[in-house]
């Protein structure tokens, strides 16, 4: 008879979930489109906010780095060093906090229509990715100002962008699902973001941590467990002609944690998904 047979049963066993997700890709696009359209309605400077916010952060972080006299590699202007880290960090922090809130913000949809719920936080991350792309103007502007030409390593940038995306989606899904059930995360998330700004290599660089004698070994491991360390180190390495070397063990540990978060995030999200409409 019909090709679309749907079986509704308790539990999470849903064999054609990923196929369903593919069928709903249009909604994915439209939700992202809606958020972009709505974000800058009735604002005076509109899309300029996407540039202004990270620009201010770059300046503040560069100032802090200068104040504490943290080292910059040869021939790399401090503003460039800082912005190569601030932009991916901003992408992560925006998508992490927006995704965590996305299910609650769309609760009217969740309780009235069926679609794979994964679409909601995922499309939020895509919106942040577009903001990130716009904010790249800053980086290009600084490069032009200092007449700084990247070398071929810049071709590796998409790979690190993918890593940033994996980190954002993984943690975003996990926190979004938790937030539906435990509203405590509404309070925890801004704290994590604030905390992360200081433990990620933004005002300083990773080599300062790894080469320091004052920092014990276990603290260095702990530092590498921050998934954003690998993302930021990768960005700096590929943008700044490799002048900031990647410390491989730390990088691998950090990237591994990103992947782990993606797996945990997707699995936990899938497990909780069926109860969202009941508990939201």
């Amino acid at each position: 008879m019909s090709r679309n047979r749907i079986v509704i049963e308790p539990g999470t066993a849903d064999s054609n979930y990923w196929k369903d997700l593919w069928n709903y890709r249009g909604l994915f696009y439209f939700l992202a489109w809606r958020d972009i359209l709505v974000r800058y309605k009735q604002t005076v400077i509109g899309v300029l906010w996407s540039v202004l916010r990270p620009l201010l952060t770059v300046m503040v972080m560069a100032f802090i780095g200068w104040l504490f006299n943290s080292a910059t590699p040869d021939n790399v202007p401090r503003l460039l060093l800082v912005s190569a880290a601030t932009l991916p960090w901003q992408f992560f922090s925006n998508s992490f906090s927006d995704a965590s809130n996305s299910l609650l913000a769309n609760s009217n949809l969740l309780t009235k229509v069926y679609f794979p719920r994964l679409i909601v936080p995922a499309s939020t991350v895509i919106v942040c990715l577009i903001d990130f792309a716009i904010s790249f103007v800053i980086l290009i502007g600084i490069m032009v100002y200092y007449q700084y030409m990247p070398d071929l390593k810049i071709l590796m940038l998409p790979l690190f962008l993918l890593l940033a995306l994996i980190t954002s989606i993984g943690t975003g899904l996990y926190i979004a699902a938790l937030n539906v059930k435990y509203r405590d995360f509404r309070i925890i998330v801004p704290f994590i973001v604030q905390f992360g700004l200081y433990v990620s290599p933004i005002a300083f660089s990773s080599s300062q941590i790894y080469n320091s004698d004052r920092i014990p070994q276990f603290a260095k491991y702990l530092y590498s467990m921050n998934p954003m360390v690998s993302v930021i180190d990768g960005f700096r390495w590929s943008i700044l002609r490799g002048t900031t070397p990647i410390y491989m063990p730390g990088f691998l540990l950090s990237a591994g944690i990103s992947l782990l978060f993606l797996i945990i995030g997707v699995r936990y999200f899938r497990k909780m998904e069926k109860t969202f409409a009941d508990v939201i």
């Binding site: 709903y24 249009g26 405590d184």
Partner: protein, 424 residues
């Protein structure tokens, strides 16, 4: 006959009701405190002390065949919405299994996902994709949707500036142009003006005429009987009846006689109470206690009270509320026979009064009644602690025979006399 398109087997859905928590989500701190408590005191099971299982649906089984238009009937809380939510895959069942062969589109609310800041045009695309259409499909139907909604001139205006009528028209228009094999509709006709409701019903008839399957929940029996060929009655989460619409609606309306709309309070009165309301009943034309009345027949309210201290000036009154329109009227014992009742000395004992309801002007719907007693302008004697609920079914008013909606809390039938003053 293996044309079954929806097969529901032993479907059950339970919710855990928490009695102490006012908010329905958990806070992590509660989980942690409860865990901590149970470490120190293994016998304390905090969750079970405060929660209770509630079965919104229990062991529901039925089949729907291709092309059937099924009306789902039942009182508030019978499980209709839960059933639709499970069928639309919004919530998962606790037990049982549903097999659906075909694409399902559900319309549980008009304008789900409409964004007030976006224009009509943008919202058509957004809402369409939320309801499961792809972009090409929406583009193809775009003009048809706009024409149906009659919003051509306002396509590029943000919908927050739309009138509520325009908003509803646009929202329904998008949903009406879905092309699913199965359409699930919940009570959407309750909104919008009369003309538009008629248009919606017509559109739904067209849809079902194309051989598609429709599941339709409504309190409007007229709409159900004109649209559906089959009906299902749900009661307290179980299947009560299932069959052809005419038969089901008929027996649904007479079902009230089996159910008593009776509330009693036998608890002891306060030590210095002067009067206590004891019972409230809804009676049909045969003076049987029922929970549903038909406005083709007479209907009565019976109030029983006990006078505990002899006295004068006692008055008893009730307020009739319509679920949708609020208070309809208040009626007092002292309204009639003022002379007799004003000076009347109420001796200790039980009294019963029967009041006939003005059935010919009450419109269809769920009603709720509160009863109280007072010495007017002096003191409040008693408030009956229960609300008495009943349903009035409209089978006689001019509105019942059409699908036309009409505003207003009451539906009196007034004499319209023609006067030709110009000719005299």
């Amino acid at each position: 006959m293996s044309n079954t398109i929806i097969k529901v087997e032993n479907l059950s859905k339970s919710y855990i009701l928490k009695h102490q928590n006012t908010e329905n989500y958990t806070a992590l701190r509660d989980v942690i405190t409860n865990k901590a408590k149970s470490i120190f005191n293994s016998s304390a099971k905090t969750p079970s002390a405060t929660s209770e299982e509630f079965w919104a649906l229990r062991d529901l089984s039925f089949d729907v065949e291709q092309g059937d238009r099924v009306g789902i009937i039942g009182r508030n809380g019978a499980g209709k919405s839960t059933l639709l939510k499970i069928l639309s895959r919004i919530v998962a069942p606790t037990k049982g299994r549903i097999t659906i062969d075909g694409r399902v589109a559900s319309l549980l609310e008009v304008g789900t996902g409409f964004h007030p800041e976006l224009s009509g045009r943008e919202n058509i695309y957004l809402n369409g994709s939320i309801l499961g259409m792809n972009k090409a499909e929406i583009t193809r139907k775009f003009d048809e949707i706009v024409t149906f909604a009659e919003v051509e001139r306002f396509l590029d205006t943000p919908v927050k500036r739309y009138s509520s009528g325009m908003y509803v028209r646009l929202a329904f228009a998008v949903a009406a142009h879905l092309e699913p094999e199965i359409l699930i509709v919940d009570e959407v006709l309750a909104v919008g003006d009369a003309e538009f409701q008629k248009k919606c019903l017509g559109k739904m008839q067209d849809i079902s005429g194309e051989g598609r399957t429709v599941l339709f929940v409504s309190h409007n029996m007229a709409a159900i009987s004109s649209l559906c060929n089959k009906a299902i009655v749900l009661e307290k989460g179980t299947l009560f009846e299932n069959g052809p619409t005419d038969k089901i609606i008929n027996s649904y309306l007479h079902r009230g006689e089996r159910n008593t709309g009776e509330t009693r309070d036998d608890s002891p009165a306060a030590p210095n109470a002067k009067l206590k309301i004891r019972s409230v009943k809804v009676l049909n034309e045969n003076r049987n206690s029922v929970s549903e009345l038909n406005n083709a027949n007479k209907g009565f309210i019976e109030i029983g009270f006990e006078v505990l201290q002899e006295g004068r000036g006692y008055d008893v009154s009730f307020v009739l509320n319509h679920a949708q329109y609020g208070p309809i009227f208040t009626s007092c014992l002292k309204d009639v026979d003022t002379e007799k009742n004003d000076g009347r000395i109420w001796k200790k004992g039980n009294y019963t009064f029967v009041i006939e309801l003005p059935m010919d002007m009450l419109r269809e719907g769920d009603y709720m009644m509160t009863v109280g007693s007072a010495i007017p302008k002096m003191e409040v004697l008693d408030h009956f602690k229960y609300e008495t609920q009943f349903f009035i079914f409209d089978s006689v008013s001019p509105v019942a025979k059409t699908t036309e909606g009409r505003g207003g809390a009451v539906l009196p039938i007034l004499g319209w006399e023609e006067h030709n003053f110009t000719n005299s």
